[in-house]
C-alpha cells in the first residue's frame, strides 16, 4: 500500500541501447524524492507491464530512441488494460516525431517528452499528474 511516496518504473522498451537519457531522467526523479526502479535495457512490453504490477508502481516512464514506439507503446497500454492496471500512469520520452505524438496520446500515453525537455519539467509534471495509488480516491 502507498506510504505517500510516488513509485515509478523507468523502462526501456525496444532493442536500442541508448540509455544515457533514461539514466539521467531516472536519477533526476530519484533525486527529486520519488522511488525509482529502472528495468535495464531491451524490455518487451510484457516484461515492462509485469514489472510494473510486481513492483506496485504508480507510474511507468518509457524511454525509446529506436523508432519502434508506434509498435511498442500501444501494446504496453493494451497489456496494462488486460491486467486491470489502468490507474498506472504511463508517460514517455525519446525521439518521437511530432506527427506520432497525438496518436500515441490518444492511445493512452499521458505525456510525451521530446528532446530539449529539462529534467525539472519532467519532475514537475510527475508531481502534478501522478499520485500514490494507495491514497487515490
Amino acid at each position: 500500500m502507498g506510504n505517500g511516496k510516488i513509485r515509478i518504473l523507468i523502462a526501456k522498451p525496444g532493442l536500442d541501447g541508448h540509455d544515457r537519457g533514461v539514466k539521467v531522467v531516472a536519477r533526476a526523479l530519484r533525486d527529486a524524492g520519488f522511488e525509482v526502479i529502472y528495468t535495464g535495457l531491451h524490455q518487451t512490453p510484457e516484461m515492462i507491464v509485469n514489472s510494473a504490477i510486481q513492483e506496485d508502481v504508480d507510474a511507468i516512464g518509457l524511454s525509446i530512441l529506436s523508432g519502434a514506439h508506434n509498435a511498442l507503446f500501444p501494446r504496453i497500454i493494451q497489456l496494462r488494460r488486460e491486467r486491470g492496471a489502468d490507474d498506472i500512469v504511463v508517460f514517455a520520452g525519446g525521439i518521437i516525431p511530432e506527427e506520432d505524438i497525438a496518436p500515441l496520446r490518444a492511445a493512452g500515453i499521458a505525456e510525451i517528452f521530446t528532446p530539449g525537455t529539462s529534467l525539472q519539467q519532467i519532475v514537475d509534471w510527475v508531481r502534478e499528474h501522478v499520485t500514490p495509488r494507495g491514497v487515490r480516491t
Partner: protein, 534 residues
C-alpha cells in the same frame, strides 16, 4: 522586456571540464621534440602517422548508411559512390545488431528502422549488388554478430570469385564498448572475447586486408564520457584485444597493424584535436613498450572519426550544419584517416538524401577549399594545444592505471567500473546544462519558440513485412539437410572450443540465418544480462 537571468559567457573550461587559462606560454609546455612529438610519420606519431599526411592520401569520406531492406540500402550506396564518396559504411538495424532475425518476436517494429536488416545470404547479395568489392572497402558497424556478417561478406566475395586476399574492409567487433556503452550484445564478455579471438586468427590467415576490430570510443563518448574517459577506455579496450590476440597464439606484429580505431569528434574544438594527438602518442607507447611490437605499423593509431551525434539539436536543426563543419574541421586538424559527417536531421531519424549530401559536401569543402589539408599537424607547437594534449594524456594514463589495477578491461567491465564513470560524467553534464553553466544554442539559450518542421525520412511498416517474408522464404526453400548439418557442426565447434569462423562461413553458405547462428551461441555460452546501474 524580460532580461535573461544571467548573460551567457564564454567557457572557462573545456567541455570535459579541463580548466582553461586565458593565455598559454612557453612555460606551460615541457616537451622534448624527438621524444614527445617527432615529425609526422615518426615515433611517437603525435604529429600524425604519415610524413606527408593528406598530400599523400586524403582521408576517406565514409558516410555511414543503411536503412530499410537490402534493396533500399544498396540504392543509397550507389548514390553515395556516384556523389564522390570513397568508401562504404553499413549501418544495421537493431534486430541484426542483437542477433535476431527479422521475424523474431523481439524484432517487432524495429526492422529496417535504424539501419538495414540482414538475416541471410540472400539479403547480403542484394546489399552488395553491383558494388566492386575488390576496389571499394566496406566498413560494417556490427559487433555481437560481427563474425556472421564477416562470414556473409566473405561468402559473397567467394561466390563472385574475388580472392579473399583482395577483400578489404572493417568490422567493428568491439564488444567491450558494447558492454560499456552501446549495449547491443548477445553472450557475456568472456565468450565474446573468445569469438573475437576466432575472428583475429581467421583474419590473419585469410583476410590480410580486413580490419577485424575497430576499437571504438565513439559510443562511450555519446553515452556521456569525457574526452579523457573516451580516450582511456578506448585504449584500455585496445590493450585487452591485443592481449587476446597474443593469447590466441598470434605474434603481435602479425595482427596489430590491422587494428584500427574509431573516435567521436565532439564540439569542443581544441580538446578534440588534443585528444587525437594524445591518442597517437599513447598507443605508440603502449604497443612498443607494453607489448614489445617491432613493426612501426603496429605502433600506428589509425582512426576513423564521426562527428558527435549527441551534440546535434532537435531545435533549429539547420544549426547542426555549422556544428558538424566545426567538428569535421577538428577531426582533420587532428589527423583522422577517415571521416563521417553527421547530417543535420539525425536527431529525428536517419538522414534524408538532401541532408546527407550537405554533410558529404562539408567534407569536400574542408578538403578542397579551406587549405587545411596541405600541412601536417598544423597546430603542433601551439603552446595551448601541446599543453592540452599533455593534460588529456595525463588523465587518460591515470584511468588506464586504475583499469590495470582492476585486472584489465574485461574485469573492469564485469565490475561496472567504466559504466559507472560514464553515467556520473553524463549526469554532471546534464546538471550543468540545467543550471546553464554550459550553453547549447537553441536549447538553453537563444531559444526560438516557433519552429518550422524539417522533412524527415520515414520508414514504411511495409519494409518489415517484406523483410519477414523474404527471411521465411529463405528458410523454407533452402536445402534443409545441408543447413541442419552446418548448424550442428557449428555447435560442436563452439562446444569444443575450436575456431568457429570456418563453420560460420560454411553455415551462411547453406542459407542458415543470422538468428539461427546466434541462437547456437546463446545456447552454448548463455545470454548476457546487464546489471542495471543508475
Amino acid at each position: 522586456m524580460v532580461m535573461p537571468a544571467r548573460r551567457p559567457t564564454v567557457p572557462t573550461e573545456t567541455l570535459s571540464t579541463v580548466p582553461l587559462k586565458v593565455v598559454y606560454r612557453a612555460a606551460d609546455v615541457d616537451l622534448d621534440y624527438r621524444r614527445d612529438l617527432g615529425d609526422p610519420g615518426e615515433y611517437p606519431f603525435t604529429r600524425g602517422i604519415h610524413p606527408d599526411m593528406y598530400r599523400g592520401r586524403l582521408w576517406t569520406m565514409r558516410q555511414f548508411a543503411g536503412f530499410g531492406t537490402a534493396e533500399d540500402a544498396n540504392k543509397r550506396f550507389h548514390y553515395l559512390l556516384a556523389m564522390g564518396q570513397t568508401g562504404l559504411s553499413v549501418a544495421f538495424d537493431m534486430p541484426t545488431l542483437m542477433g535476431y532475425d527479422s521475424d523474431h518476436p523481439r524484432a517487432l517494429g524495429e526492422v529496417g528502422r535504424e539501419g538495414v536488416a540482414i538475416d541471410s545470404l540472400a539479403d547480403m547479395e542484394i546489399l552488395l549488388d553491383g558494388l566492386p568489392l575488390d576496389r571499394v572497402t566496406t566498413s560494417m558497424t556490427i559487433n555481437a554478430p560481427a563474425n556472421v556478417l564477416l562470414a556473409l561478406y566473405v561468402a559473397v566475395a567467394d561466390a563472385r570469385g574475388i580472392p579473399r586476399d583482395q577483400v578489404g574492409g572493417t568490422t567493428q567487433t568491439d564488444m567491450l564498448k558494447e558492454f560499456i556503452a552501446q549495449k547491443e550484445w548477445i553472450v557475456p564478455p568472456r565468450p565474446s572475447m573468445k569469438l573475437i579471438q576466432d575472428m583475429l586468427v581467421f583474419g590473419a590467415r585469410e583476410l590480410p586486408k580486413w580490419n577485424i576490430i575497430s576499437i571504438s570510443g565513439y559510443h562511450m563518448r555519446e553515452a556521456g564520457a569525457t574526452a579523457a574517459q573516451e580516450l582511456a577506455f578506448t585504449l584500455a579496450d585496445g590493450i585487452a584485444y591485443v592481449q587476446a590476440g597474443i593469447d590466441a597464439g598470434l605474434p603481435v606484429d602479425e595482427f596489430a597493424p590491422r587494428l584500427s580505431f574509431f573516435f567521436d569528434c565532439h564540439v569542443d574544438f581544441f580538446e578534440e584535436i588534443a585528444k587525437f594527438r594524445a591518442a597517437r602518442r599513447m598507443w605508440a607507447k603502449i604497443m612498443r613498450e607494453r607489448f614489445g611490437a617491432q613493426s612501426p605499423r603496429s605502433w600506428w593509431l589509425r582512426f576513423h572519426t564521426q562527428t558527435a551525434g549527441v551534440s546535434l539539436t532537435a531545435q533549429q536543426p539547420l544549426n547542426n550544419i555549422a556544428r558538424v563543419a566545426l567538428q569535421a574541421l577538428a577531426a582533420v586538424l587532428g589527423g583522422t584517416q577517415s571521416l563521417h559527417t553527421n547530417s543535420m536531421d539525425e536527431t529525428y531519424a536517419l538522414p534524408t538524401q538532401e541532408a546527407v549530401t550537405v554533410a558529404l559536401r562539408t567534407q569536400q569543402i574542408i578538403a578542397h577549399e579551406t587549405g587545411v589539408a596541405g600541412t601536417a599537424d598544423p597546430l603542433g607547437g601551439s603552446y595551448f594545444v601541446e599543453a592540452l594534449t599533455t593534460e588529456i594524456e595525463r588523465q587518460a594514463w591515470e584511468y588506464i592505471r586504475r583499469i590495470d589495477d582492476l585486472g584489465g578491461m574485461v574485469a573492469a567491465v564485469e565490475a561496472g567500473f567504466p559504466q559507472r564513470e560514464i553515467a556520473e560524467a553524463s549526469y554532471r553534464y546534464q546538471q550543468q546544462l540545467e543550471r546553464r553553466e554550459k550553453i547549447i544554442v537553441g536549447v538553453n539559450e537563444f531559444v526560438q519558440p516557433e519552429e518550422q518542421p524539417i522533412e524527415i525520412l520515414r520508414i514504411s511498416p511495409e519494409v518489415e513485412r517484406r523483410q519477414v517474408e523474404r527471411t521465411r522464404r529463405v528458410r523454407a526453400e533452402r536445402e534443409q539437410r545441408a543447413a541442419a548439418e552446418a548448424l550442428a557442426r557449428l555447435r560442436e565447434t563452439a562446444q569444443s572450443g575450436g575456431n568457429t569462423m570456418d563453420a560460420i562461413v560454411d553455415a551462411v553458405k547453406t542459407h542458415v540465418t543470422l538468428g539461427e547462428i546466434c541462437d547456437v551461441f546463446r545456447a552454448v555460452y548463455g545470454e548476457y544480462r546487464e546489471m542495471a546501474i543508475i
